[in-house]
Amino acid sequence: MKIVFTPDWFLNNDLLIEVVSFFVLITFFFLAIKGYKINKKKSLLYLGVGFLLVALGELATILTKIVLYYDTTITREIGQTIITYQVVKTVDIFYNIGFFFQKILTLLGFYLIYKIPSKKIVSGDSLLVFNLIVIVALLGSAWYFTYHITALLIIFLIINNYYKTYVKEKISNQKILIAAFGLLALSQIIFLFSQIDYFYVIAQSMQLISYITLFALVVKILKNGKKT
């Protein structure tokens, strides 16, 4: 079973894309928390936590890929530990755990961002959703498309929320936000075909453009704030 679909010639570039994504997501987290500190609005706190979870998902990918690509001492140490405990699948377990955290954190983060407009963030069906997300993350290593389809659906729901707000308020920033999440959704569709080398690269590039768009939005928000 293939752990990552990155073509050899793209190995360092995808790591760089994950790093950029992580920094953009963490910037959103800090902005939201800064806002929460000022006006104590719970929705800002939830948005911050949502972005933090997705950022930590990216961090899990970065750390796992670093070990996977550069075969550092951690791999060897973990390999030895695993051998000591006579676990059959040796280092693969480490990678699967790393990517499991990436999947579960990303899905939980996006789900939290989707739930923000709801009156109750934690409702009766939250446990069921959490359970489903855990299952998807567990299955994600063997059937990668389950993860991408779930992520795609949640991102669509987020876009739907932002679109409704845009129809009501017609704020230009919301158009950028919808475009960024739209690109992210598109990248998830392309990831479904990531067994073909070029599709994986296109999907990663699409993800990068999406996060750069989000970063441009941060810059615009900060600039507009200074003007007012």
Binding site: L31, G35, I38, I116, N161, E169, I171, G225
Partner: protein, 83 residues
């Protein structure tokens, strides 16, 4: 919080200094409300009393200007996400 930001904005729009009575009129607040908000803003070092001769005014501090920018950025952020 919104009212406090409005007060800071009014002072800033007047070049960083304004007479108390003008501020009260511009912010559309009663004397008592005004007193409470001003006390809070001064306690947090966002506004300060200024005296030049007989003229007494309210001035915005550096902290006040920074806070005003941060608050506007947060508002913009909230609007973007429809919060």
């Amino acid at each position: 919080m919104e009212i406090m930001h409005d007060i800071l904005k009014i002072v800033q729009e007047r070049g960083g200094e304004i007479k108390k009575t003008h501020l009260m009129y511009k912010a559309n607040l009663s004397h008592n409300q005004m007193k409470l908000y001003l006390a809070d803003l001064m306690k947090n070092d966002l506004l300060e009393n200024k005296t030049s001769g007989k003229k007494q005014t309210i001035g915005i501090t550096k902290n006040g200007r920074n806070f005003s920018i941060k608050y506007a950025q947060v508002k913009e952020f909230e609007k973007t996400f429809g919060l």
